[in-house]
Structures are given as C-alpha cells and as structure tokens.
C-alpha cells in the first residue's frame, strides 16, 4: 500500500473557512487560481485579473500539504472533540433546537464562497438544523468515524453522489480498495459505499473507514451472509444484529438495510422479466420463503433503530424489489416496498434515527417522475437516494451514460443523492479508471441538477469556465473543469496547442475568434466583466 497517497489539482490551493457559532471550525475548500484576461486598450495590452473560483471539495486532508498522511494510522479525528461533548444524535439535537458543529460545517460548505460574491443563499446553520429536525435532510456521521468531514443529504442542498467500491470474492485487495476510496474523493465522490463481499471484509472496511474523509455506507447483510457460509437458511436476526453492532463500532455512517421487503410482498414480483436484482433483497426474500416467515429485518426494525441511535448511524432503506430492467419499472412489487418504507421512516424518526430511502434502478424516462412523486407522498419527505436510474437496457458498457440521463432528471426533481454507475455495470467489477469515469459522470448529473434547481452559486464555475473558453485561456478552462487531466489529454491530441482555436474548427473557422474580431470592430459581443454573471 502506498502510504503517502496525495490528491492534487492543478493551479489550486487548499483553503479553510471559519465557523461563526463554532469559531474553531475549519471547512476545507478548493480555490482554483486563474490567469488574467489580456486586453488591448488604446493600443496597449492590459491584464485584468480574474478572481479565483472556490469550489466544494471532497478531497479532505489528502489535498492539504500541511497534513501528514499515514494510511496505517488513518486521518486526523476531526470530529472527535465534537462528539465527545455531545449527547444524542444529530436528529435529537436538531429537534431540541441545538445547532451542532456538523450543521454549521455543512452550511458553510454548501454555500462555497457565495456570500463573498454577493449571491443570496437560503442555507444557514439554522436552516440546516430545521431540515435535519424535519427529517428532510440527513447528516450521516457515526460517532466512531471522526475522520469524516460533515456533509448533508437532502433536496434543499447540493445533489450528492455516492461511489460504490469494495471487492468481491474473486478480485482485488485491501490496498487497492483504499486507493479507489481516495481516488473517488479526488474526483468528487460525496460518500463511499464499501460493498465488499470477499474475504478480509472486516479489515477492508476498517482501512477504508480510517482513511475516508467522506461518510461510508455498507450493506451489513453481505457480511452476515458470509458469516453463515452463504447459506440463507442459517441466517438469523442474531447474526445480523451482531454484524450491525460490529460495523457500528467500526464507524460505518449509514447502512443499507432491506427492511421494506415483507413476506407477503415477495410474490408481487411474479411475472417480472428479471426477478430481483438487489443482492440484499434477494437474500432476505429467499430467507422469508425458506422459513415461510416475516423478514427479521422488518420485525426487528425497532431494534435496528436502537442500535443505530447509539452510534448516530443513519439508515438507508434499501429497495430490494427495485426493477432490474425498464420493463419491470414502477410495478406493484416496487411500489409496495416503497409504501412499507414510508411506515418505517416514522418508526426511525421516533427513535431519533436519520433515514433515507433508496430508489431504482432501471426506469424509462416517462416513468421517472412517478417514482419521485410517490416517494415524496409516501415517505414523509425523507431524502431519496437513487441508483441511476438507467433509462434503457440496451447499452451495457455505457451504463454510466444511460443512468446519468435518468440521474440528472430525478436529481432535478428532488432526489438528494445519486448512486453512481460505472461503464462496467452488469459486466464486471469497476477498476480505478472506471471509478473515475463513474464519479465524473455523476458529478455532471448532480451539477446539472444543481443548476436546474438554482442552488446558490452553482453557476459560478460554469460561467468562469465559459469566460475562459471565450478568451482562449486554455489553462484556466482545463483547471476549472471536473477532470482537468482528461481535458488536457484530449486537447493535446490536436496540433494547435496554445493557439486561438482548436483543431475542431481549425484556425480560419473559429467562431469564438471571429466573434472576438467583431468585438474589436466595435460590436459589443462578450461581457467585459463578470458583473451579474456570478449567480445562477
């Protein structure tokens, strides 16, 4: 394992913003430095400064040269002093009117530097508190994962993305998975799910947790299933409970648990084209059928909540009956499970446990809205966390794209977090490059949704990049992009590097250059300064 793993971005500096309620808070951001615009004024060349652009930063201490990184020891326990002096979960505090450190942290983080830019924002620490109190937003933050930087999942905030990592029995080692975790943070992943099902499942998770600056989720059923040798009939509440406690102790921030599957609803999946496609869901369904009993995840739901409350771990209600193809979308099985989840949300809240709802899967575009609407109607405003959805089934190898199309739409409609899909979906376990492609693709979907929702300051980066593009400040264009390395790589395939054109159009046909010449002739095309351009 490379013990000195680092994250760097070109022409970027790590900066910290301070808290007001909690002056000790230091909220990490990334400041992208820009080159000046060079103009000819009265025959003289004048350089006009372009302000740096501050962007949301998921890279944690890995991008701070002042922090020593030691993967064996783990990241600094940022949140330890906060959790030590606190009693009760984020939700309990919120309901008592207490603004926690995490709440102020996420309020600062969500706004980037929009106040300095004169952009109005609805996101205050008090607003964060009220959203958490109402259950409309979740701050997944296990007290035993003090290394994680607070983030928030809710429709009133930036749309978040999750990256799945983890090995299966046939592939990859611990070092590789930790590398993937940090790699995901580099490209903008907001949370990680460790879906390991192989050997060393406990130790893999431990290394990921100690080195992850973002919340980590798991599906505890996978480890429980390993413990009984993969024999469904030997599964039990006790095995599951012990596994849950074990993972809470380690610091897992949220658990996907398929509590919404009920014995009576399994046969609703009859007549499906692709049966069940959720691993956890198919295991508990088989358990129900083999034992002819109600699911212990349902009957013991209150016990699950009690355990989660002790550690302030959140529950992600897994959709075990999600459709595995567009044909099965929005069927009775899927919607029955969603209705059950609505009931469970209220039971979780009664225990001060934060909860969100997982959603499909495969859904053709015309059926996406019905999912979002039903989720809102049935689940009392608890945040929605969807996988994609994929809007067609015919493109294996490109399912990051089929799903990003659906993800952008459902994000705009109110889904709070999008679970990424990589190009290898349906085919193989993603490697590091697939993680990069999946994360960047989902940052695009999430950002498109943020723009559409009018998130304060979301358009600042777009506008700065567009201005750089128009002014042929190529380096600034690359540095402002989601994946500067890829942009540079493609640009270098042309033979026009550094010129006022690219090979797409060639030198004589560059519209932006001609447009610039029109300006020089007195046509006022192109803004002279970014006044009014800052907002969305």
């Amino acid at each position: 394992m490379n013990n000195n793993i680092r994250i760097s971005y070109p022409s970027s500096e790590k900066m910290y913003m301070q808290g007001t309620i909690y002056p000790d808070l230091r909220v990490g951001m990334r400041r992208i430095m820009l080159t000046p615009t060079v103009k000819t004024v009265g025959g003289r060349r004048v350089a006009v400064e372009n302000e740096p652009v501050v962007v949301y930063d998921t890279s944690g201490p890995y991008s701070d040269p002042d922090v020593e990184i030691d993967l064996a020891r783990g990241l600094p326990p940022l949140r330890k002093p906060w959790t030590q002096r606190r009693h009760g979960t984020q939700m309990a505090c919120a309901r008592q009117g207490i603004i926690t450190e995490e709440m102020e942290y996420v309020a600062i983080r969500e706004n980037m530097n929009c106040e300095a830019l004169g952009i109005e924002t609805h996101i205050t620490p008090e607003f964060v508190r009220s959203e958490v109190a109402a259950g409309r937003a979740v701050i997944p933050a296990n007290v035993n994962h003090p290394e994680s930087e607070p983030m928030i999942i809710g429709p009133a905030f930036l749309v978040k993305i999750n990256a799945n990592i983890g090995n299966s029995s046939s592939t990859s080692g611990i070092g590789e998975e930790v590398e993937k975790a940090v790699w995901s943070c580099k490209w903008g992943g907001d949370t990680l799910m460790d879906l390991s099902t192989g050997t060393d499942i406990h130790e893999t998770r431990e290394r990921i947790l100690r080195n992850s600056p973002v919340p980590v989720g798991t599906v505890p059923m996978y480890q429980a299933f390993e413990k009984v040798g993969g024999r469904v009939e030997r599964l039990s509440w006790e095995v599951f409970r012990d596994t849950l406690v074990e993972q809470c102790e380690q610091g897992v921030d949220y658990f996907t648990i398929h509590c919404g599957i009920r014995r009576k609803n399994v046969p609703l999946a009859n007549g499906r084209l692709t049966g069940m496609v959720s691993r956890g869901g198919s295991i508990i369904s088989k358990w129900c059928m083999v034992h002819d009993e109600e699911s212990f995840l349902y009957t013991h739901f209150d016990n699950i909540c009690d355990i989660c409350a002790r550690y302030d771990a959140a529950i992600s209600l897994g959709d075990g009956l999600r459709p595995g193809c567009t044909f099965d979308a929005n069927d009775a099985a899927q919607f029955a499970e969603l209705d059950t989840m609505g009931e469970l949300v209220e039971r979780a809240w009664a225990k001060n446990v934060q909860v969100f709802i997982e959603g499909p899967g495969h859904v053709p575009m015309q059926k996406i809205r019905a999912n979002m609407d039903r989720q809102i109607a049935k689940c009392h405003g608890a945040p929605f966390y969807t996988l994609g959805p994929l809007v067609t089934d015919i493109a294996p190898g490109y399912d990051h794209i089929t799903s990003a199309i659906g993800a952008a739409q459902i994000g705009w409609q109110g889904t709070a977090m999008l679970c990424y899909v990589t190009p290898k979906e349906h085919l193989a376990l993603p490697d590091k490059e697939d993680v990069r492609t999946g994360v960047v693709t989902y940052k695009i979907a999430a950002h498109a949704a943020d723009l559409a929702k009018g998130h304060p300051g979301a358009a600042v980066r777009d506008n700065a990049l567009s201005k750089a593009r128009y002014e042929f400040r190529w380096k600034d264009q690359f540095n402002l992009s989601l994946d500067p390395e890829r942009a540079v790589e493609y640009y270098k395939t042309s033979n026009s590097v550094g010129g006022k054109y690219c090979t797409m159009c060639g030198p004589d046909f560059c519209a932006m250059r001609i447009s610039g010449e029109l300006e020089a002739r007195g046509c006022d095309l192109g803004v002279k300064e970014l006044k009014g351009v800052k907002g969305s």
Copy 2:
C-alpha cells in the same frame, strides 16, 4: 484507402422487407439471432427458442455480403429509378396525395417488424405522406444522391442522430473521413454532416457522398469562405450561390444555412458571455457588420429555395446565434433568430422545399422546455434538430455526456434529430474512436426518447436483452447491445467468463442467480415467455 470496407455485427443477418405499394422495394434490416433458453422441466433439460430481434439498420450495403463494395466506384444507386420517373419534390408529391417510394420505404423501416410481433403502429405510408405534406417531417433525399437509403426526420417517428465528420485545415485525409463515415453508419448514425473546411473540400465530399448510405448534410458557407480565401469582405451572394449549386449537383441532401441571422439582430448578442459560437453564423454576422447590409442569406432566401427545389435538397435553418454557454441560453438573440426562422419556414414550404430548424447548444435543464415550446409555437411544426444541448459547461472531455443528458430530454419533448457531440468537443477534432463513442452515446439518448414517447416496438430490444441478462445468456446480451464489442471487452476483464454471475457481485451474491433459485423453489419470479413483453 481500404477499398473493401465492410460492416459486420455478431450473430446478425441482413434481411430485407418488401414493399406493398412498390413491391420492388427492399428495406434493409438487421436480424439478431438468439440462443435458446435452457430450462429444467420435470428433471429434463429443455431448450426453448428465442425469436430473433429485428432492429433498425443504418449500415446499408456494407453489411450485406451479397453486395460488392468498391469505394472508388461508390454504392449502388438504389434510388435512381425512382427519381428518374418522378417530377417534383417529396413535399410537392405529398401535397398532391402521391406516396413516393421513399415514403413507403421509411414507413416499413420505422416499424421494424412490429406487425409480425402483433404491435400496433400508427406509421403507414399514408401517415408518412401526410406528415411530409404538413411539413412536420422531412425526407432528406437529393435526386443526385441515389446511393442513400430513405429515412425520415419528424417528431412522430424514431428520433434520429447526426454525426459530424470532416477535416479542418490542420488534420486528416479523404480516406480517413470516408472511413469515419462508414464507421458512423456502423454504430447507428442516421445522417452525416461533412463539415470539412480544409483543402480537397470538393473531393472529400464527393467520396463521402458516393459511399454514404445515409443522407449527407453540409454547411455550404464553409466552402464559399474557402473560395474567397477566408476574407469575409469578399464574400457575396454569387459566390455562395455557385457553391450551393455545386454541392446540390454532387448530391448533398440537406444544407445548414444561417438565413435566420438578420443585421438588426446581431447586436442582440451584446453582453453575452461567449459571443457567437456558430462558425457559419459568425461569418455571415461579420459580413453584415463589415458591409453594414442585411445578410444575403436572408435577402436571397427565395433564390436558395429555388435551387434546393430543383434537386429536392432540404434546408436546415442553422442557428447562428445559438448560445455557447449555459449563461447565454434562451437570450434575446437566440429567440429573435428562432422567430425569423419561423417566417422562413413558410417561405420554404411555398416553394415545396422541406425544411427543419437547428437548435442549441448549451442550455441548463430548466430552460430546455422553453426552447422546444417556442420552436413549436414559432416554426409551424417544422422538425427541430438540436446540438445536444449541453446542460453544464464544466466538463470538457465529457461533453458527449453533458449533452446526452439534454438530448434525451429534448428528444422526448419532440426534437426529431439530435446532433451528436463527441468527447473531444471544445478540445480537438474527433478521431474514429470518438465518432464511435459519440454515435453510441447519442443512440442511447435517442432510444431513451423513443421509449419515453412509446414508439411502436421500441422496447422489444430492451426486453429481449433484459431476458437474456436474467437467463445468463451472455452472448445474447452482448449481441443485442448497441456496442457488442465494448460489452465483451469489459466482460472479459472479469475472471468469471461464462458463469452464472459476473465479478461485480461474485458468485455467492448474484441476485439474479438467487432470484432464479427462488423460482426453482416455486416462486414465480421472472416471466416464462415474452407474452405481453413485446410492446412498449
């Protein structure tokens, strides 16, 4: 130049469907052969056949082993006998109540084999005629491009995609561009635009036309601009007219002409962040400013129509004032041009010239619908042909994805053709692999829109692929996909090839396998036959 270029698809056969009105018509399709489903019934293994899936085929004679390919000679002139015995354009015939060979051809083509599957369809030759007569659909088919197979562009039909090819002065030769053209047809490109701006512009176009089984579009201003040495002030109607006639003679099926830019509207682009980003648009705008005159493309629009009518070439009204960034979307300049286009549509129709309208560009999601609605309101139902739109500006290197998100939405809302964007957009000229990625990405967006619109039989391929996936018929899953080669390549990175799982979940956690085991226990998950699954 490889003179024996061929297109092949795995486990696929070329098939032809016959006409009824014109029994000589042979409409090429691709039939994907499937392996049987193997089941255990009463302890015995039984093989149940899976019907072949017939899909829309843009590969033309290149995928027919019975046709000799000779790039030097060009493709067989399929439409020559039809155009020789006909007078008037497709639109003129349609208005006289005449169903042309092209109209019956596209009716058969659009339906794939849905009648044989018992799927109802609204698409008859008479329906095609009525849509062409009303101007709501365009069959771009220059009488001098008899090699092209008829296709239709209109909101009541399958959403089409265009691939831009062509060199710029700095890159690539003729052979390479012809290879890209055939390559685009292989992956599903419905039309090609040759945007060459370099030397050999006439000969490049000639080789593409003679070897293209799909309609070819151009921007004639590019060649006119080359003819005057790239000096805007020397441009004139006469130079443009001669270029247009030259290209009509060669057989160009549709022309992008920026007739919607008017002298008085150019200053509406004042205050934009990125000025003008259309090459043709910026050239004619500069001409207007330099000469302080109305655009000759506008003043001579009727002459342009007269020329196009002689060859039955269609006009694609180019949007020279389209936004080059999300900030500039839906501004006064863009909408003023759209309004002018509405006026021009009626003038084209008065001359029996088919016409469609080009659209943006860069548009954030919340502003897409306004584009489509305004286009419908102002342009009398003429088809819309959009570039993307890109829903964010911050992802150069991934703009095939940022734009596919917008393209799928606007396609669903009624855009008839989507102009692809490749990963190299904004950075460099696309190479062959970029063309493949761009075309497949746009096939995804178009197909997602077809599903959402409920096009007859659109879901057949999705359902067949999903069934293959559930039954672990890996080969069938790959062969039914948009890019079988890519799917196989990714699958082979796993070490589970041929098994009843993939490395994503590993053998013990495959939900589809567990779901199958549930079935074996008497749970009726997964359909037994595709009854009722055929339709959308």
